[in-house]
């Protein structure tokens, strides 16, 4: 069973979001990294890039496949995790910690009804 921290929100595309003080930190879930397998490359946006809710903001590549990653909120990139350029395997080893992807300065209110709570996300993973 994959790890699903209680203090985060989730998407049906297997991203996680931490909302605090007008900033959203986004990553991919433990379930996602497991499904992808060894991650070999991560492409992230530049600081200041602006995105709408649902935009593709990067790519995660594993040995098996390249997957787009979607932003579940609207805002401008405050920071991208540049350490992943040299150590993409951190996405496998610590998806909720060192493997975070980007921090976004939120533009407007977040529609939290479109996000999943940990219980709903766990159910989604079970159903596969």
């Amino acid at each position: 069973m994959s790890n699903i921290p209680k203090d985060l929100k989730y998407t049906s595309d297997h991203e996680w979001v931490r909302l605090e003080d007008g900033v959203a930190t986004v990553g991919i879930t433990d379930h996602a990294q497991e499904a992808l397998g060894d991650i070999t490359f991560v492409e992230l946006p530049a600081e200041g890039d602006e995105f709408e809710t649902g935009d593709t903001f990067g790519v995660v590549e594993s040995v098996k496949a390249a997957s787009d990653i979607y932003l579940p909120v609207k805002g401008a990139v405050e920071a991208a995790n540049s350490a992943l350029e040299d150590s993409p395997e951190m996405l496998n080893s610590d998806p909720y910690g060192e493997g975070w992807l980007i921090r976004v300065r939120l533009d407007g209110e977040v529609d939290t009804s479109a996000l999943l709570d940990p219980e709903a996300y766990a159910k989604l993973c079970e159903e596969g």
Binding site: A35, G37, V63, A66
Partner: protein
């Protein structure tokens, strides 16, 4: 992010299925079989096989028996390589082609002690191959039957494969030459062991009757003394070694000559299916050839992506993976024979990935 497909109940299972679950394998549907794609991680498993030893469950592969007075002639009619006079105890690799030179499958023929031929085919082509072969028996005096469900198959591969087996008490295999096989009883288990594999490393493939498969796994301390390796690493290992995978480097549209296996097409045999087309291609030179490459980027070049040089498109990617030995992506492409350079690039969703063609094995 991908949605993980839960395996349909109809998927077939090898006798080692329970062991894969216990070892924490991630399973995938491979040609209708619920097979392990990785355990510890593809890259780590890949390294194990290159530096020490690992074991693959390849029980999903197909086994056919061909015997009878014309067994040799029948196989020489079907296959591009010369197998009819194969001595007992020897194994021969061969493509099996259509009239136009396209490949039905590539396979290995083993000449067993009793003189019969054991033909081992790709899991994805089992039914197609059997129908193809059965439909061409005609006037040949042969008995062709399938034994795929009767055999389980483990591949023990790596530079320490032979010493590991010796330490486990399987001394019978130690003097076995490459592409040779022996049949013997080991700890009460009737085995066929051949010094073959699909990794570019030393090692053996061990056939055991399906109902005795778990006993063999126990005797070999599979999962303990020899770590399990999944299909993911099987693919990256064979790609690094420059070995073709059916449907990628060899297919109904990519001939053995294009794939660089002209040596396995014996056009001096009086007749076999595909001979005219393949002889012509050998004499005139193939218009396209399969070449292997390294990528000077972190992105993997994926199957179907175009290969380009300054003049435009020169080919298409057939396979892509990552080499943990070289720490860079690797791949294969079908390239116009008129392109003879070593440098090109792959168009990966609008991004240029520089590639360098190299002669496999890429890791040496």
């Amino acid at each position: 992010m991908p949605n993980e497909d839960s395996p349909a109940p109809a998927l077939k299972r090898t006798p080692f299925h329970e062991l894969h679950s216990q070892a924490g394998a991630r399973m995938v549907d491979f040609a209708g079989w619920d097979m392990p794609v990785s355990y510890a991680g593809i890259l780590e498993e890949h390294r194990s096989v290159r530096t020490s030893v690992g074991v693959f469950d390849v029980s999903h592969m197909g086994e056919f028996i061909v015997e009878g007075d014309n067994a040799g002639e029948f196989l020489d009619h079907l296959l591009t390589n010369r197998v009819g006079d194969c001595p007992i105890g020897k194994a021969i690799y061969s493509p099996m082609c259509k009239e136009d030179g396209g490949v039905v499958d590539d396979l290995i023929v083993y000449r067993r002690l009793d003189g019969s031929f054991l033909v081992v085919v790709n899991a994805s082509n089992r039914e197609k191959d059997f129908q193809w072969m059965k439909g061409r028996v005609g006037l040949f005096d042969v008995d062709l039957h399938e034994e795929s469900d009767d055999w389980a198959l483990l591949a023990v591969q790596g530079p320490e494969a032979m010493s590991t087996l010796k330490n486990l008490g399987m001394g019978e295999v130690f003097d076995l030459g490459r592409f040779r096989l022996v049949e013997f009883e080991w700890k009460g288990l009737p085995l066929i062991v051949s010094r073959t594999g699909y990794t570019g490393e030393d090692g053996v493939e061990i056939f055991v009757p399906t109902e005795r498969a778990l006993e063999l796994a126990k005797e070999l301390s599979v999962g303990e003394k020899i770590p399990w390796i999944g299909l993911g690493a099987r693919d990256s290992l064979r790609l690094e070694a420059g070995l073709p995978l059916y449907g990628h480097e060899m297919s109904e549209s990519i001939t053995p000559v294009q794939a660089g296996f002209g040596w396995a097409v014996k056009t001096d045999k009086p007749s076999f299916i595909g001979r005219d087309a393949l002889r012509m291609e050998k004499e005139l030179g193939a218009e396209k050839t399969v070449r292997f490459f390294l990528v000077d980027d972190k992105r993997i070049a994926r199957e179907g992506m175009p290969v380009l040089d300054e003049g435009g498109e020169i080919g298409v990617v057939l396979s892509g993976s990552k080499s943990p030995i070289l720490d860079c992506p690797i791949g294969s492409a079908l390239v116009d024979a008129s392109f003879t350079g070593d440098a090109a690039w792959v168009d990966s969703r609008g991004k240029r990935l520089p590639i360098r063609f190299a002669k496999p094995p890429l890791h040496r």
